[in-house]
Every structure is written in C-alpha cells, then in structure tokens.
Amino acid sequence: MSAVIENHHDEHHHGPAKGLTRWLYTTNHKDIGTLYLWFSFAMFLIGGAMAMVIRAELFEPGMQIVEPEFYNQMITLHGLIMIFGGVMPAFVGLANWLVPMMIGAPDMALPRMNNLSFWILPFAFFVLLSSLFMEGGAPNFGWTFYAPLSTTYAPPSVTFFIFSVHIMGASSIMGAINVIVTIMNMRAPGITLMKMPLFVWSWLITAYLLIAVMPVLAGAVTMMLMDIHFGTSFFNAAGGGDPVLFQHIFWFFGHPEVYIMILPAFGIVSHIIETFARKPLFGYTSMVWAMLSIAILSFVVWAHHMFTVGMPLAAELFFMWATMLIAVPTGVKVFNWVTTMFKGSITYETPMLFACAFVVLFTIGGFSGLMLAIVPADFQYHDTYFVVAHFHYVLVPGAIFSIMAAVYYWIPKWTGNMYDERLGQLHFWLSFISVNVTFFPQHFIGLAGMPRRYPDYALQFADWNMVSTVGAFLFGVSQILFLFIVLKTVIGGKKATDQVWEGARGLEWTVASPAPYHTFSTPPKVD
C-alpha cells in the first residue's frame, strides 16, 4: 500500500494501467474526465439522432415517418438524454480534467467516488434506453414528466424511468460533492477564493446548485412512484393532492437545473475571451458576483415556467419580477465579455469563434427568455415553438457551443496535439449557420401559434418547418465532422507547446502538453 504514495523527489510518475481495467478501475481525474467527455459525446449523438427523427417527421405537415406514440417517446428521450446525458456529463468531464490542474491539486479530493459517479451513468442510461423495447414503449410524457401524464396515463416503463433518474441523481450529487470538496480543500497555497480561475468559480457555484436541487428531483420521482404503485394522492386532486404540486416541485429543481447547464459555460467563455483578446478579463470580481446572484435568484423564479397553470395574481407578479431581475447579472456578464474584447488584440481561432458566437446567440436566447418572463405575453407564447426556440438558443449555441469551444481550447493540453485549425473553422461555420437556420425560424412559427410536442401541424407553418429541418440535418452532419476532428487530434497532429495559446494564463498552461498522468503531486508556488 505504501507504493501508492507519490515519491516527491522522484521525477518519474506512474503511468496509466494497461487495457480495459485502466478505464474500469481508474481513480485518475484525467481518465475519468475523458470517460465523461466520450460518454457525453455518445449521448449527444444518440439524442441528436432522436432530434433528426423529430425534425424529419416535421419536415412536412401530416404524418410521414413515425407513429404519434413513438414521436412522443422521441421528444421525451431527446430532452432527457441531451440534458442528463449530454450537457451535464460534458461539464462534469471538463471539471474533472481542469479543476485539479487549475488549482494545483494532485487529483480530485475523493478519487474512488469520482469513478463511481461516472460509472453509474452508462447503467442509468442503459435502463432509460432499454425502456424503448418494453411493452407500452418508452416514457412519452415529455422531459418535464408532468403528472398526471407521467402517473395515471404513463406506460409501465415509467417505473424504470423513475429509478434511472434516481441513480442519475446519485451520480450528480456525488460528482458535485467531489467538486466542492476539491475546490474548498485542495487549492495550492496562495490561491485564495478571489484568485481562483473563473471556470473553478463557476463550477463551485454549479456544484452547490446540484447538491441543492438533485435531491428535490429525487423527491419528485419518489412521489410519482408512490402515486403510481402504492395508492398515494400527491398529484391527484380526487384525494386532496394537486397535479400542479408536481409542477412546483419539478420546476424548483428545473430552474436551477438550467443554470447548472449554463454556469460552467460562463466560466469557459470568460477564459477563452481573455486568452484570444490578449487582455485580462474586464471585471473578475463583478463576474464572480454576477454568477453568485444568478445562482441565488435561480431558487425564486421557478413558477415562470407555469404562468398559465392558474396561479394567484400575486404569485404571477412575484415570479415575473424576480425573473426579470436575472437580466441584471446576466447583462453584467455580457458587457464584461464585450468590454474584455474592446481594444484587445483579437485573433479568431476556433475556440474564440465559438466563444463569440456564444456571446451573441446566448444573448438572443436570453432576450427571448425576457419576453417569456412577461406574464401577459407568456399567455400567448406558452407551449409554442417560441419556447422551443428560446431554450434551444440557450442550450445549443449556449451550453453546447461552450463545450465545443472548451474542447478546441484545451484539447492541445489533453492530447499534446493541435487540432486542425482549418477543419475546426469549417466545423464552426457549419454549426453556426445551421444552428441559426434550425432554431431562428422556430421563433416565427411559435409566435404564429404552432404548439410544441405535436407530430403534425397546420399548413401555414409548413415553410419554416421545412427550413428548420434542413438546418437540423446540416447541424447533425456537422457534428460528425467534429467527431472526426477530435479523433484526428487524438491520433496525431502538430505538437502543441506547453502554453499552447499566446495569451493563455493559468496553472494548466504551465505543465507539459500532453499533461502528465499525475500533475502537481506537490503543490505549485502561486503568488
């Protein structure tokens, strides 16, 4: 057992184990980060394939390709897989790779639990996806699984869905505890809280949100389980409960959840803009406080998802104003990024292109969110394609663009090879154009009144739906190019220097490229 203690005077480090056991038994934050990232990419492709089914069906009015029942299952699984399997694990993977390197720690604080957090996920999604082959089909009630659709009228596979959400939640909570403990306890001497890189800050706040709301989701699915199988009446008005109670509990989880999917993106984009503008961030402190304010506000805005459900007027007003308040810290961030770029010596490598697109398109998503926050306007927009356009703008060119930016930005550090800049730029422009072709028209058809989650629609929505489908398939194909670029970089390419980017600052750029299997066995000196 003594062999496992690093010898600090010995420059030679243990390399990874050989074969499959490296990945099954690993306690190394870089291995686990890699597992998370590849898993999320696989889920991104599966969830993406489901999106293609949806868009293909909506190419023309009328029923063409799938049965309405199957369409509902695709809608549900697409949402669940992209959120819990795509975006969240990708950010956890980035946290695993980067947080220990950024704070000068030898690894995550609790390495074995780190491995467990990851390996729960493939099993959880196996359970969820296996429901496609069960009697009655997969869950078909939308990713928000509102009762009574998810209780009284649910297919039998809902039980599998419930337990799969339970273990996904356990994985998230363990992962979040690990991140918080690492950040609080493992920083190299000299890295005070207000000297932490912003990605670390964003993940500290994200982890706090995760620990606060994932248990609430677990509570919600537990009550569903009891209602379905054990005769309770939580979401059944006939017994004195209330289906709206489900929506309140769900969105108490759900709103912080959407910030869980965007806060790490704020951290990533801040780093990238700083590097390629070759200027320190305009306002570090205001960025930290803006993120904290957003996190705190996220707990008091949940009911803006349910304005049309028939809440008392006072509640609608409260949730409307609280929601609009979020625009203030978000504005602080956007101006921060813009002023960082102002008079900078900017170059536009692929990560910077994705980061700039993030700032512009995320802002569009934020503005449509403000429109939805206005109660009387929301009565019109609610459950239309306008909502679909809104959250896809914050999630695809928001969260997913930031993940791609992060991959391009840090992959030289991970693999030791530069990615192919020409292909990277091609990937960016294809993604950028197609994402707008896909989602911008959905604003129009939504404002014109097309409801979401239906496999068929009225004739007047035909043209923009066709455009949207063309964009979606182009976006889908572009991501195969992304896969190719990543694989090409892993296999070989121009050797990366240690600093990689001229303007890059931070501890991760001081170690070799590729980063050695164990970094910072002894804490680095930081001023």
Binding site: P111, A176, P189, A212, A238
Partner: protein
C-alpha cells in the same frame, strides 16, 4: 493548506462493483414493482442480488478506508475532505426532505383549501361543481372524491388533546429520539476524554434507543392500518403522513446501522483515538440530523 502527501488511491475495483450493484438494484426494483401481484414473478431475485452486492461492496469499501486510515495514509487534509464530504452529503439529505415538507406545506396551505372553495381560487374551483360536498380541513379525513376507491380513515395521528397525551405514541417517539441525541453526545464526550468504557456504554444506549424508536414507529403504523383505517390509500393526509415519517424512519435505520458499526469497531477492534475519530463523528452528525428532522416532523406533521 498544504497538498503535500495527499493520498490518491491507486486503481480500485470498488466503484465499478458499486455501479453494477446499483444497476441490478434499480433493474430489480423496477421490474419487481411492475410485476407486483403477478404470480410466479422472479424479478425480486434481481432486487435481492443487487441489494446484497451493494451491501457487500459498501462493506469492503468502508473496510478499505478504515485500513488506509490505520496504515496512516490519510493526512489531516484528507480527513478534511471527508469532513466536508459528509457535511455536503447531509445538506443533500436536507434538500431531499425539503421536497416532501414542501409538498406538505403546499397541500395544506393551497391545494386543500382551494379544493374546499376557500379564497378566490377556491371559488373558481367551486364554480366547476366537481366535488361540492367537500370541506377543507386538516388532517384531511374525507377525500374530495368520495366515490373513488380511497380507504377512509376514521382517525388521524394528530394531537389527541391533553387528556390522552400519555397514550400518544409520537410523544414517546420524540422523547426517545431526543434522548438518543443526548446519549450519543455523552458518548462523544467520553471518547474525547479517553474514557472508552463510557463511550461504549452510551453509544450502546443510543443504538438501543434507535431500536426502540423503530419499534414504536412500527407499532404506530400497525395502529394506523389496523385501528384508524389510515393507509397510503387514504388521500393526501395518509400520503404525506406515511411519506414523511416513512422516509424519516428509513433514515433512522440507516443512522442506526452507522452507529452500530461504530460500536462494533470500538468494542471489537478498539478503533478510534480520543483526538481522531471522524468515522464516529460523521455517524453522530447524521444522527443529530435525523433527530432535527424528527422535531420538524413532530411539529408540522403531528402537532400543527
């Protein structure tokens, strides 16, 4: 805050075993529940296998951590990681209970009064003329829809009035659980002062009180089902009552197991030092947490 000598364990089989166990557990639980009432269903074997292998994995996992501790591999900094980890785990449990308490507060303050026609929202609902005979009250004995197949309760678990207070089980449960928090604290003081005998005795007493609590809770459930007609199927009052107390009871059992493990470690293996005993401290934190939740339950489920 030095990171020197931070112990990073080498490869371990434990996590993947735990993940596979969880997989078996959820597959087994889902298919067992879906096959309830089906003759000859063997799904429950998967559930048992998952449960058994999870328990075994956890046993070996904790054994490994204890061995590492005894081998002196854990620095003060690693210990701090465990301390933070346990604290945040308890916070996640607080939020789990918050979901159920939130449900209770919502139905009591909004859903039930509205169904009973109280307030502006209530009058809108009453105008629909759905369950007009329904009167809002708490504890809710008669459900809004009398025709649906709800098991009607005759009696609730609420405060029985001063004259019957001594026969009221929840009061005894409160006394038992509050005293167990005191006994575990006395045990802790004994350990800190190096008095091993005192530690073992008072920790044993705490485990005993935990058993008494679970026994009384079982008696209460029996009473509810057999004599009060109060079941999971009695509408929202039964739902919230059994969910909150049941989930709490499950946590009492987990805490009880933790404390028993600590007792065994102390009695049979002489683990723990007077200045270094976080395993026990973590279990005692958990126990105090369970106790605080009970006080909330006593207040909001039973008394108010």
């Amino acid at each position: 805050m030095s990171t020197e000598n931070y112990y990073v364990p080498e490869q371990s089989r434990l996590p993947i075993f735990a993940a596979v166990s969880l997989f078996l557990l959820v597959m087994g639980a889902s298919s067992t529940i879906n096959n309830l009432g089906v003759e000859g269903s063997k799904s429950s074997y998967i559930l048992y296998a998952g449960f058994a292998s999870l328990i075994a994995t956890l046993f070996f996992w904790f054994r490994k951590v204890v061995q590492e501790h005894l081998a002196g591999l854990d620095s003060a900094q690693l210990k701090k990681s465990y301390v933070y980890g346990m604290a945040w785990f308890i916070f996640s449990e607080v939020m789990f209970f918050a979901a159920f308490f939130g449900a209770l507060f919502y139905v009591r303050s909004f859903a039930v009064p509205w169904l009973g026609g109280i307030g502006e929202k209530g009058s809108q609902i009453a105008a629909v003329d759905l369950w007009n005979g329904f009167e809002a009250s708490w504890p809710l004995i008669a459900t809004p829809d009398q025709n649906a197949a709800f098991a009607m309760a005759d009696k609730s678990m609420a405060w029985p009035g001063w004259s019957n207070v001594l026969q009221w089980l929840p009061l005894w449960n409160t006394i038992v659980l509050l005293s167990s928090s005191v006994t575990v604290h006395i045990a802790h003081l004994g350990l800190k002062n190096g008095n091993r005998k005192k530690f073992n005795r008072w920790l044993g007493a705490t485990v005993g009180l935990a058993l008494i609590f679970v026994g009384l809770q079982a008696a209460e459930y029996y009473e509810a089902y057999a004599h009060y007609g109060l079941t999971l199927n009695s509408g929202i009052y039964g739902s919230t009552f059994f969910m909150l107390t049941g989930f709490h009871g499950f946590h009492v059992m987990m805490g009880g197991v933790m404390l028993s493990v600590m007792l065994c470690r102390s009695v049979f293996f002489n683990h723990f030092e007077d200045h270094d005993h976080f395993g026990f401290e973590a279990a005692s934190w958990y126990w105090h947490f369970v106790d605080v939740v009970w006080v909330m339950l006593f207040l909001f489920v039973y008394i108010l």
